[in-house]
């Protein structure tokens, strides 16, 4: 029966009309959108993690603090779950960092070093900055011996906001396109079922099972999905090549995305056609 469905499904697939072409186009666009979003998410996430690795929390110490307290504070900060690295910066090191960064020597300019001792805190790359950075910062600020805690909170919030908004737009667009493709697949299958009423009646009245009558139409949906999926894989691959061209630190994207995209296409095709067949084949 599988062979029968494959052969008869292919016959139906070959007779696709305008609505069949529209189905394949909409399904292809949907899958391209899914593929690009999938890649986009991995790239943006990699970019976000890379960027976050460069951010740090700076906790300034009160003047005149002794080395025992400094050691104790370092241990306490290190013990916070999301903290990755804690580095102590003495006033001399802070002055050097300042002059390296801004090319100004504070000792020359002011005659003394105004910078206090501090801790530079880096968080785990996987930590969610929207929560973790604020939580760590607030917690460190409560420790005895800490004068002030600063970090680039606004910049981080903007990055997070951008990632979240982009993700939401992608999810909504993909969702809408999925529904549109599904509707097109259903309409095409209904059209094909109507055009093949004689075939269905013949199968039914010759003693063919319901599955035998439905099979060719479900397989036809699968062919639509496979064609759309295959096209989308090629398009997404070239889009990826173009976008990531010359980016040396580009993230590794697992190749599983290609069969996933094709599989999703086939699933939509089979679901749409299967639903239509189950509703419109009524001679049983």
């Amino acid at each position: 029966m599988i062979y029968f469905s494959l052969v008869e499904g292919w016959r139906n697939f070959k007779n696709l009309g305008i609505i069949g072409l529209l189905t394949i186009c909409s399904l292809t666009i949907t899958l391209i959108l899914v593929g690009v979003s999938m890649h986009g998410y991995i790239v943006v996430d990699s970019w976000r993690k890379g960027l976050l690795g460069k951010f740090e929390i700076e906790a300034f110490l009160l003047p005149g603090i002794d080395s025992t307290t400094v050691d104790g504070l370092e241990k306490k900060i290190s013990s916070i779950k999301t903290v990755d690295i804690v580095s102590f910066i003495s006033p001399e090191q802070a002055s050097k960092r300042f002059s390296d960064q801004f090319e100004i020597d504070l000792m020359d300019m002011m005659g003394y070093n105004p910078l206090p001792s501090s801790f530079i805190i880096k968080l785990n790359k996987g930590a969610n900055p929207a929560d973790s950075w604020q939580i760590v910062s607030d917690r460190v600020a409560t420790f005895e011996g800490i004068d002030e805690v600063v970090y680039e909170g606004k910049v981080l919030a903007k990055i997070e906001d951008f990632v979240r908004k982009t993700g939401s737009v992608a999810v909504i667009s993909v969702g809408i396109m999925l529904i549109v493709s599904l509707i097109f697949t259903i309409l095409t299958s209904i059209g094909s079922i109507k055009a093949n009423e004689d075939f269905i009646r013949l199968i039914a009245l010759s003693g063919g099972s319901r599955a035998m009558a439905m099979g060719p139409f479900i397989v036809m949906g699968g062919y639509y999905g496979a064609l759309a999926g295959g096209t989308a894989v090629v398009v997404v691959y070239f889009v990826k090549l173009l976008l990531l061209l010359g980016w040396t630190g580009q993230p590794v994207i697992p190749i599983i995305w290609a069969p996933v995209l094709c599989g999703l296409g086939i699933l939509i095709g089979v679901m749409g056609a299967g639903w239509s067949a189950s509703r419109k084949i009524t001679v049983y």
């Binding site: 013949l202 039914a204 010759s206």
Partner: protein, 226 residues
């Protein structure tokens, strides 16, 4: 002498009624058809002949009454078992319903694929059925390229390819000339003499005289046995 087949009924209808939305299609029909019997259903257009066939094949379910086919009863039949019911019947539709853009062989093979318990491949059985109706030489032609008489023979071949107990033929000679009608009737007679019960719906009963049929007359959905 009427060809009444054996005494064992293969199809039985008990007080079957079927209503279309605006009118009564079948009104309390009870009949039985024996194994190997040749029966003709006579009646004017709209008398219920086609409806009765559609009820026998359970394309339509009776509103009341019971249809029995071999051991199966329509009221107790589960949907899953419907193909089993229909495999025991061969149907020659009034409009023939051949798939015009497919070859003669393909048309028969589609039906043959529905019954896998018979010995021989679907293709071999299709060729044998085509041989029985004298159409083996046209197996690669498209159905649309055949004359009406040839299409009728192909439709009969398709109906007998699964070796049914009963062949239902709806107006099989209504659009044919005298000679072609006679050929088709001969084919039906041969099928019947091989043991298949044949039920023909027709408004030209005189053409079937040589088959010695039992005649059943339908009038406005009601049965009048002759």
């Amino acid at each position: 002498m009427v060809n009444s087949g054996s005494d064992a009924p293969i199809v039985k209808l008990l007080n079957v009624t079927y209503d279309y939305q605006a009118r009564r299609g079948i009104d309390g029909v009870s009949l039985s058809i024996n194994k190997g019997e040749f029966v003709i259903l006579i009646g004017r257009t709209g008398s219920g002949k086609t409806t009765l066939f559609r009820i026998m094949s359970l394309e339509l379910y009776p509103d009341s009454g019971e249809v029995m086919l071999s051991e199966l009863k329509s009221s107790q039949l589960k949907r899953k078992k419907l193909p089993l019911w229909r495999r025991q019947l061969g149907i020659v539709f009034q409009g023939l319903q051949l798939i015009s853009n497919r070859s003669v062989l393909d048309n028969i093979r589609l039906a043959a694929l529905c019954e896998r318990r018979l010995p021989g491949s679907a293709k071999a059985r299709s060729l044998r059925a085509l041989g029985q109706v004298g159409m083996a030489h046209r197996l690669h032609d498209k159905a649309s390229q055949l004359s009406t008489g040839e299409q009728q023979r192909v439709a009969i071949a398709r109906a007998i390819v699964n070796e049914p107990f009963v062949l239902l033929a709806d107006e099989p000679v209504s659009n044919l000339d005298g000679e072609t009608s006679s050929d088709v009737i001969d084919i039906l007679r041969k099928i019947n003499s091989a043991g298949t019960a044949v039920v023909v719906a027709t408004h030209q009963p005189e053409l079937f005289a040589k088959c010695n049929p039992r005649e059943i007359r339908l009038d406005s959905g009601k049965m009048v046995e002759v």
